[in-house]
């Protein structure tokens, strides 16, 4: 996933601190994310590109963005492929309203 991720339409997010549960009513499928994956998805806001998400997560986990970016991309790509996320065509500059 190289664009700006956002939740797909209709996906229900259930907080189960520290985990996260995603539900697709259209296919009645539930995905349970562990804390790490959940932290990635919690930063998905439809405006932040992968780089921003990675940087924020790196700050929280006190790891370099370069170290965690492959795993962040893997989580996002997997969820996109399973229909829980989509990529928007927005760019950070157009979404910021600047």
């Amino acid at each position: 996933m190289i664009g700006i991720p956002q939740l797909a339409a209709g996906v229900v997010v259930e907080e189960l601190d520290p985990d996260l549960c995603l539900f697709r009513p259209d296919i009645d499928e539930v995905v349970l994310l562990n804390q790490t994956a959940a932290d990635v998805v919690r930063l998905v806001d439809g405006a932040s590109p992968v780089e921003t998400i990675t940087k924020q997560l790196g700050t929280v986990y006190q790891l370099s963005a370069a170290d965690i970016e492959p795993e962040v991309r893997q989580v996002l790509t997997d969820l996109r492929d399973r229909g829980y996320l989509v990529e928007t065509s927005q760019t950070p500059s157009t979404n910021s309203g600047a």
Binding site: V12, L32, Q35
Partner: protein, 264 residues
């Protein structure tokens, strides 16, 4: 079968079940099924209904299997494969699949002082409503008997199973409880020399309940909300153990003491 007569009527998990057969055939079930016998109220007439014909010379294990299946298929509740016992500090649900020692652990807990609600299935209504347990005779195999009922007379053969009334070995709880206080996910392993409890997340617990559900497919969205509500409201634990009696003692120390109840 001659002169079919309704002799045993059971209301469980929102289902009325009538076992019918000749007086002699039904009489044979009166012992192990005595804890279940009930006089259905008028309200029960409106419940989903199942009738099970009891053959002469009945096999109680077969009747129990048919009864359980009939109830699970017709219950309007979300049914999960789980044990449920009640202690001084509240209720403990034990979701687990068949063959993993759930009934053995439930019996061990009853022998440790907990009250029995079910060793087979729990029916969950939407959030905030009471939880229903499928009270039933317990089927105990010979090898399990030697582990948790060794002091009891008349064991079955090693490869055989025997139905016992829970009231013969411990205390019965009401089959309707207000809420689930603890969820124990059992992990039996020979590596656990002493039993231990490890915190499980609400997510893991919701997943375990959903995986152990018989009928979540009827209404997946509502079923998800139901298990999420339970997982959020309960304390959740993995229980690593190799000996059910030792784990039961640990759970009794932890969750069946007045101090534990007061701390909640």
């Amino acid at each position: 079968m001659t002169d079919p007569t309704v002799r045993l009527s059971i209301v469980a998990l929102g289902v009325r079940s009538d076992l019918i057969g000749s007086a002699a055939a039904v009489e044979e079930l009166a012992g192990p099924f005595a804890d279940l016998m009930d006089e259905p109220s008028r309200d029960a007439e409106a419940l989903p209904h199942t009738t099970i014909a009891v053959p002469d010379g009945p096999d109680p294990l077969q009747v129990l299997a048919e009864l359980t299946q009939g109830i699970v298929e017709r219950s309007p509740l979300l049914i999960c494969h789980a044990g449920l016992v009640i202690g001084a500090a509240g209720s403990i649900a034990i979701p687990a699949p068949s063959g993993t020692g759930k009934s053995t652990l439930t019996i061990a807990l009853v022998r440790a002082g907990f009250r029995y609600a079910t060793d087979e299935a729990i029916g969950f209504a939407p959030a905030g409503q009471p939880v229903h347990a499928l009270r039933r005779p317990v089927s105990v195999a010979g090898d399990v008997w030697s582990l948790v009922l060794a002091d009891q007379a008349d064991p079955p053969a090693a490869e055989a199973e025997k139905l016992i009334r829970i009231s013969a070995i411990g205390s019965l709880a009401s089959p309707v409880v207000a809420r689930i206080d603890q969820v124990i996910i059992p992990r039996r392993t020979s590596l656990a020399r002493t039993p231990r409890l490890v915190r499980a997340s609400a997510g893991v617990t919701a997943s375990a309940l959903l995986h152990r559900s018989f009928n979540h497919f009827r209404n997946p969205a509502a079923s998800l909300q139901t298990v999420l509500s339970i997982a959020r409201g309960a304390e959740c634990w993995y229980a690593d153990y190799s000996d059910a009696t030792e784990l039961a003692a640990l759970l009794a120390e932890r969750f069946d003491q007045p101090a534990a109840a007061a701390a909640r």
